[in-house]
């Protein structure tokens, strides 16, 4: 039997995809344009703007900074967030209700406020180095994702499984690693990816905390665009898209994309 699909539904779907994918295609087109300014459709074809990424030394440098920062901040955040999520789920009845909301504050507070308050407290207040400030800022920024996503996995976890392990002779701390962690693995990986992407993309917090000699890729992109309006920016964007697609492909191969939505 053929299912009839309403023409309006087809039109709506096409429309949605055009808006989702269209801008990305424009970026790709812009990046290969043989002009010194951003333009679409591309005029000529050239890969020189891709090469230029590595000639402007700030781009590779800030890429390394952003990547390192994202890995470290996400790891730090998971080290705080996983135990926090565990405690919130395990002792839901005993712990005060507002505690769960405290961990979501960094996304409820406008990011720009978070950035500014970190500048006042951590950077100029305590006098922490730029690197330390950035690390703390990003870790805070991504903490809600870690707590929430890992928490969602833990909420469907039956804690008597952990007690079963203990009754079979497994000490409590070990039971967490042997029994709890393997069963919330999907949540932890999903949290890592979400947090990583959030950190890599961040502008509002980073703009307050970056300083002389240390910048992140998005901040560098902004700075570059103010000075030169050339397709290098598009080329960097295409590169980032490529990395995202690569990560998602690996995730899809190894775990299946559906686990991100679980």
């Amino acid at each position: 039997m053929k299912t009839r699909i309403h023409p309006a539904l087809i039109a709506f779907s096409v429309f949605t995809f055009v808006f989702l994918i269209g801008p990305l295609i424009i970026i790709i087109g812009t990046a290969v344009s043989d002009t010194t300014f951003l333009t679409f459709p591309p005029q000529g074809f050239s890969m020189r703007w891709f090469a230029n990424i590595f000639e402007v030394s700030a781009f590779p440098r800030t890429m390394v900074t952003s990547f390192t920062l994202a890995v470290l901040a996400t790891t730090l955040s998971l080290m705080v967030g996983v135990p926090a999520a565990y405690a919130l789920a395990r002792f839901r009845i005993e712990l005060p209700k507002f505690l769960a909301n405290v961990f979501v504050l960094p996304i409820l507070v406008p990011e720009i406020v978070l950035g500014f308050s970190l500048l006042k407290s951590v950077a100029t207040g305590v006098g922490a180095s730029i690197w330390t400030s950035l690390l703390i800022g990003h870790a805070l920024l991504v903490l809600p994702y870690c707590v929430r996503v890992v928490g969602a996995s833990l909420n469907s976890f039956d804690f008597s499984v952990e007690e079963a392990a203990v009754s079979l002779g497994c000490p409590r701390w070990k039971a967490f690693f042997v029994v709890v962690l393997p069963n919330i693995r999907a949540g932890v990986i999903a949290a890592f990816i979400l947090a990583f992407i959030t950190s890599i993309n961040d502008v509002s917090v980073s703009i307050f905390l970056t300083g002389p000699g240390i910048s992140t890729l998005p901040i560098q992109l902004l700075a570059h665009m103010e000075q030169f309006f050339d397709p290098t920016i598009a080329a960097v964007s295409v590169l980032l898209m490529g990395v995202t697609v690569a990560v998602m492909t690996v995730v899809e191969w190894t775990l299946g994309l559906t686990f991100l939505t679980k």
Binding site: V161, E163, A164, A165, V166, S167, G169, P171, A175, N183
Partner: protein, 353 residues
């Protein structure tokens, strides 16, 4: 190895609420004792105290001669079977069963051998490589049982192990649990809210209410000779009729009830526990008869039970429920007398009512 379990004067609190009050309990070697009661009676708390997941605020818990009150849960060596089965979702049946052996540092070959043997014993041959999500409820509970038994614990504990299974399977599984426990000779503590389940598999049953044991006895004793009104009501003595001794001779006691009617209780059948006492009667323990000596009653609503008719009766002591024979249905409004049948009645001291 089989040992006894002893709880001596154990109390427990959740915050400011006392959940267990001065509870003492002895489970003999190889014995299966059930804790039976409604939710909130403290039966699961008792089990969790023994398991080591909770700490008592007072009292001691011992396994044999060993005081385990302060011992960490993982060092107690107690086999536990949970209501939710609590299998490790990320491990196969084999690895689930072998988990406890692995924690004890047993080598791969030996623990797999033992696990396979136990999997066979609980009737799951051929399912060793399955994961819990691919098993039925009954199969999962068998895995849970195998997992608890394979570590050869001196004590096995069950926390409502059958309440997630359907009625037919429940009966089969409880027989199986009893058989396995007997065969292993392991001392066992079994928590349930299901009276039939507790009575059918236990050597002794502790009926619990508000953090106390109301009576601890063999099922037969609980059923026929409850020690107090709570237990009497719990095991089905639905009618409680307060009485006072009015006189006696060599063969019988004359007891008077509120309203002035008297009952003649043969001494051969009834032992009167004091001057004031309570006659506890099952509905089938009050024979409905027209005329004669007994409790005067007016019949109310009649319901059909299949084996008998049941009547709501109005008496001087309130509503009483009595069963009458199928051969002789009586109309509502009839005046009758209710005659206590010794085998379906018991007498309780008034102060326990």
């Amino acid at each position: 190895m089989t040992v006894s379990l002893t709880l001596a004067h154990v109390s427990a609190h959740y915050g400011s609420t006392q959940v267990l009050e001065d509870l003492s309990l002895d489970v003999g070697e190889g014995e299966l004792v059930s804790l039976l009661g409604a939710s909130g009676c403290g039966k699961t708390t008792t089990l969790r105290l023994v398991a080591g997941f909770l700490r008592p605020t007072a009292g001691t818990i011992s396994l044999g001669a060993r005081n385990i009150t302060g011992v960490a849960a993982h060092a107690r060596n107690i086999g536990l079977v949970f209501q939710t089965y609590a299998l490790f979702p990320h491990l196969s049946v084999l690895d689930n069963v072998a988990f406890g052996l692995r924690q004890r540092g047993m080598g791969t070959a030996e623990r797999h051998g033992k696990a396979h043997e136990m999997i066979e014993r609980v009737g799951l041959t051929g399912l060793a490589d399955r994961y819990p999500s691919n098993l039925s409820g009954g199969q999962r509970q068998r895995v849970a049982l195998a997992r608890a038994l394979v570590i050869e614990p001196p004590l096995l504990m069950f926390d409502e192990p059958l309440s997630n299974l359907d009625a037919k399977l429940r009966v089969d599984m409880r027989v199986e649990i009893r058989r396995m426990q007997r065969a292993a000779g392991t001392t066992a503590l079994y928590v349930t809210h299901d009276q039939e389940e507790a009575f059918s598999i236990s050597d002794r049953v502790a009926i619990m209410h508000r953090g106390r044991i109301m009576q601890l006895d063999a099922p037969e004793v609980l059923y026929s000779r409850p020690a107090n009104a709570f237990v009497a009501d719990f095991v089905g003595f639905g009618n409680m009729i307060p009485l006072e001794v009015a006189g006696e001779d060599d063969t019988r006691v004359i007891a008077r009830m509120a309203g002035g009617a008297t009952l003649s209780l043969p001494k051969a059948d009834f032992s009167v526990p004091g001057r004031n006492f309570v006659l506890a009667a099952r509905p089938e323990g009050l024979g409905v008869s027209q005329g004669g000596a007994g409790i005067p009653a007016t019949l109310g609503l009649r319901t059909y039970l299949g084996r008998a008719y049941q009547y709501r009766c109005t008496t001087d002591v309130g509503e009483v429920i009595a069963n009458g024979p199928l051969s002789d249905p009586l109309e509502p409004g009839s005046n009758v007398t209710l005659v206590p049948q010794p085998d379906q009645c018991c007498l309780l001291p008034a102060e326990t009512a």
